[in-house]
Subunit: 332 residues, 2 copies
């Protein structure tokens, strides 16, 4: 199994996630413009993977400038601007960019090494996060006295990271401990990361699962079919409001109404202390065509328009706990 994103010494190598589950195709990305396109079109996606991609993008820009004999700092600045603009809501992307740029005073090799260590840190971080989250579920499972039925949204697995996921990483470790009865995975319109990516990962991991429509999940929570909801995050504001894939907020509302725990799994790098609350998080609006079509097939009549926010904000009151590699932050 390939890492979702990696550095081969000269270029970025990444799985093209738009081709899954039909085809497992590796991209070799040699310049920043190609990387920016890959991020915009979600060939590379997932908050932690975007952090790594941001750092590797700066490494790529600096290596290319070094080879061409142009100014390293100018190349890094330009790459940072291009990459940061691709996904305005994802804070990890900027964080990764800033980490790699921070090494620039120490020279180009330091930039590359910084990006590589961020890549390796993602693997360690998510392993810790997954173990910590599985511990939380163990306690819950002991109370429930049956394997847990876990609902998750979008894709937060290895495909969203480097080698092991966040929310899906927790589910993976919990499954290895025998704590998982079944996973319900939302299909996650419009781009169907649940049906395409999470289903593909769950199948490979041998974890029993069923897909559900995004609109069906809240009533399944209400009807007692779900023991716990676990999602990822794209940005967590200072007041702990959570921006995540569109469709997260209704799951949190339903979990709260049914008194079902709602967990957010995210590395510490997802916290954005500069953003006071969810109201201050910019919400990326994506192309209308994602909603108007299904795959390549037009669904809506010609001339119809759509509104396509990519993220929503779940207020901190609805979050039972945030699980990071370092701590579990329970609702106060």
């Amino acid at each position: 199994v390939h890492r979702t994103i990696d550095w081969d010494g000269e270029a970025i190598v990444a799985i093209d996630q738009t081709r899954l589950p039909a085809e497992e195709r590796l991209l070799r990305i040699e310049d920043v413009a190609t990387l920016a396109e890959a991020i915009r079109s979600l060939r590379i996606r997932g908050a932690p993977a975007l952090g790594v991609a941001g750092a590797l993008g700066i490494a790529l820009a600096v290596r290319n400038a070094q080879r061409e004999g142009t100014d390293l700092r100018a190349a890094a600045d330009k790459a940072a601007a291009i990459l940061a603009a691709t996904r305005p809501t994802a804070v990890n992307l900027r964080w990764g960019i800033d980490q790699a740029r921070g090494a620039l005073d120490a020279g180009p090799d330091a930039v590359v090494n910084s990006a590589i260590s961020l890549l390796e840190a993602d693997v360690r971080t998510n392993r810790q996060l997954a173990e910590r989250g599985a511990d939380w579920l163990d306690a819950m499972r002991a109370r429930a006295q049956h394997p847990l039925r876990i609902l998750t949204h979008c894709n937060t697995g290895a495909l969203a990271c480097v080698e092991i996921g966040t929310a899906l990483g927790i589910i993976q470790v919990a499954h290895s401990r025998g704590a998982v009865g079944e996973v319900l995975a939302t299909e996650t319109r419009p781009l169907l990361q649940g049906s395409r990516l999470t289903a593909w990962e769950l199948q490979r991991l041998g974890i029993p699962f069923r897909l559900v429509g995004d609109g069906a999940a809240p009533s399944l929570i209400d009807r007692g079919r779900v023991d716990v909801v676990i999602v990822g995050a794209d940005r967590i504001a200072a007041n702990r409001d959570v921006a995540n894939k569109i469709g997260t907020y209704p799951l949190a509302l339903a979990a709260h109404a049914a008194d079902v725990p709602f967990l957010v799994a995210a590395p510490e790098s997802t916290f954005d202390s500069a953003t006071p609350s969810g109201d201050d998080i910019p919400i990326e609006e994506r192309a209308e065509a994602e909603v108007l079509s299904f795959g390549s097939a037009r669904v809506a009549p010609e001339g119809a328009h759509a509104l396509n926010p990519a993220f929503d904000v779940t207020p901190s009151e609805l979050v039972t706990a945030i699980i990071t590699e370092a701590r579990v932050i329970e609702r106060g």
Copy 2:
């Protein structure tokens, strides 16, 4: 413009809704088995249209038995059993069946006339319902001092009825009075009645609209982008819990959290006094393939499974008002 469903003197004529918006094809249905297939596969759909279809189905069975010289009551009983089993949640379907069967003592012509008068009553009923709902919105619009931004779910237009819709009928009349700024219509997975049918109707009516993903609607309500939510109903229990298309409940949760009115538009025939509460409403589960595929294109990996409830239940506490042809029932 054709009626959604009609009687041509010998057979049922209906628009094949699975073909829209690409193609406007009329079906001519001459026997109960063909009608049952058309209902099961959603060629004919929508709570009020199902009531009409149930009544016309009994008329068809009785006319065919008359022609063949077989027992009328046996034919009606058999048709009733076949048709009622097609959509277990929809109470209007059984109501329509029962209305037509109730005329059997007066002979076959009475059965046909009963079905036809039910068809005509649907048009009158929904016209009254739409005017009453538009009056409610007028008062709201006066307070808001701007044209209303209305969110709706699934399809509740002429295509769900005979000639004018329920929730979408209200929107249509409100639009003719200048009270509608924009409609946000959910795409309504898995079968995309919003993107295919509601969009097609709104476009024909010249009402400005945009489509949104089912998972996006709750956060748009939360962010102040919606003044009022209006949906239909498939069954209303004695305690006024509302069964409606899957994905309705999260809209009600979000509207309640944001203090946005949540209206249910349904003819009186949708009330089922024999069902005490939402917990007692059977929830139809439809084929997994509706979630796993889109049209003929497989989305999820081979071997993946899905859970596909067709309806959810919104508790009466979350419903601001139920609007029927006869009254407005405000939350107590």
